[in-house]
Symmetry: C2
Subunit: 326 residues, 2 copies
């Protein structure tokens, strides 16, 4: 294991320990079980890791950042609980969702309690910069809800523009990654310029990450975590792939795509859509977009006034987030 990977593994271990022993202190006892249920459907802890790694890069005190790191992770998990209700999703990563196990009422209240608890944990950040932390966290978390509403709205309109799609994923996914690294940098004492650069880094990393999510659903390497290849196509989901396909294509192919939306045989639907995507170079164009956004993220990372050595764990973490295969 190289040195930077070691740093990041250490931060993850520290965070998991904090999560297990302290994160739920003060959380309503009566809602602890459903809250732990979602937190244990183990994600990659990307947001708290980004926060802690950014704090570390600026030589910040990790102990002061653990509360805020818990805040971004618990907020993210709150959003999954309410999102799964909205999406009527029975499973997440192969596990039953909170509302499936505990019912609608408890899922709503558990989400509410988790959302509140995120602010409780944020309040454990350094007293003298609480106002700034609160502003950053507030803005991002509010935008996430707005992004979710766009996502819901997009489901019932026939076509979404690339611009609207990019705004939706920016709000729904990227701003929380951006806020996570920015919160870490603020706790680490970063300059105003660096706070801006690191936000842009997180934002573009988040956009690249989200488009990769669409990409992997169609071009990933097989079934993992309960996802299956082509699921988005079956559901007529307005992904970057579909938007790209519709963007630069003639009337007859557009018509063919809208016809495929109605196809009942899933295998026929997937293979025909893939053939269309191939003809329209959807894979190549999507890949280019991801690479462009990831390149922008790295530019912002390079613009930080950090020694190369200090910035390395952030770079390595970005690589890990972006280079995932599933």
């Amino acid at each position: 294991m190289n040195k930077t990977k070691f740093i990041y593994q250490q931060l993850l271990a520290q965070f998991e320990d904090y999560l297990e022993t302290q994160t739920f202190n003060g959380f309503p006892e009566v809602l602890l079980e459903p809250a732990r249920h979602i937190m244990h459907i183990r994600g990659k802890r990307i947001r708290p890791l980004l926060l802690l790694t950014a704090c570390q890069a600026f030589n910040g005190n990790i102990a002061e950042a653990l509360g805020p790191a818990g805040a971004v992770e618990i907020y993210h998990n709150f959003s999954l609980v309410h999102d799964d209700i909205i999406d009527k999703a029975d499973k997440r990563r192969g596990q039953p969702t909170v509302h499936k196990v505990f019912g609608l009422n408890k899922a709503i209240l558990t989400g509410d309690a988790m959302l509140l608890h995120a602010f409780f944990l944020l309040g454990k950040g350094p007293e003298k910069i609480l106002g700034e932390l609160l502003k950053v966290f507030n803005k991002a978390t509010s935008q996430v809800i707005e992004g979710e509403q766009y996502d819901v709205d997009f489901e019932v309109i026939p076509e979404v523009s690339e611009k609207d799609y990019m705004m939706m994923i920016k709000y729904k996914t990227s701003v929380l990654l951006a806020a996570s690294v920015q919160l870490g940098a603020i706790i680490g004492g970063a300059s105003e310029a660096d706070k801006k650069h690191i936000y842009d880094f997180g934002l573009n990393l988040g956009l690249a990450f989200q488009i990769k999510d669409d990409y992997l659903d169609t071009y990933g390497d097989g079934e993992t975590f309960g996802k299956r290849i082509g699921g988005d196509i079956v559901q007529n989901k307005k992904t970057y792939l579909l938007i790209t396909a519709l963007k630069n294509t003639g009337d007859s192919e557009r018509k063919r795509i809208f016809e495929l939306f109605e196809e009942k045989d899933e295998q026929v639907k997937i293979s025909n859509m893939l053939a269309l995507y191939d003809r329209l170079d959807v894979k190549g164009q999507t890949f280019s977009k991801m690479e462009e956004l990831y390149g922008k993220a790295l530019e912002s990372l390079n613009a930080l006034s950090l020694e190369e050595e200090s910035g390395k764990p952030l770079l390595e973490l970005a690589e890990m987030v972006y280079q995932r295969k599933h």
Copy 2:
């Protein structure tokens, strides 16, 4: 109009103006309509008024308290939106509820956005005491959710003890009233002792207020705001009245009460339950409890280190909250 009433009317006007012009700045555009819908099902603005009147009593700067006053009001309204989903309520004060007008998904997300916005507004409080404001607000708001879960749980158990009932209404209703006056006092620069007294004042006022709610549902003066006399009896709601009836009664009357739970004819059910309540002195005992709690609230109010004149608007507001007829 006497002088104290004038103070309180002025604060209400200031708050309504703030609500109309500034409260929703920064709120997600796409969820503004459902949020305004619930905020316009006009309540009495008890919580922000308590906060502002407490701030004023300690000679605080009202301008610094308007954000936090907006926070308690918007939080209260968030809880109504999610509560109405949980209670499957179609109407509130005679108006259709948010989920009824805008659907479940939008109601969930509107509630989430309002909850987040409460913290945004709280963040407008004075920077140097934000940590303290956040702690008070966090604790109370988290307890409200916990209280709601108790309320949901109580629905499916046959009998609730007085102790459990008091805990439920403390969490679900009183702590937010207590936090409201305490936040106002903190912004006004109250001493540690006064912060505690004013919290106890709000807490007991809230308990008296909630028991009065039960009392008025059965002994109030007719149909108002879409409520009707005896609604709680029809629904077998575990009110203070029912708990009191069950508390000190023999086996045969307990049996009679549980039999009445199954009665299908609403008028028969109400009149028979009222006859039982009369025999068991439920009205008198409930009234005594309310008076006892309200007396405690006034004791805490008297314990504040305020000139009589400064404390008067708080006293008058408490009277108004407690002496309501519906």
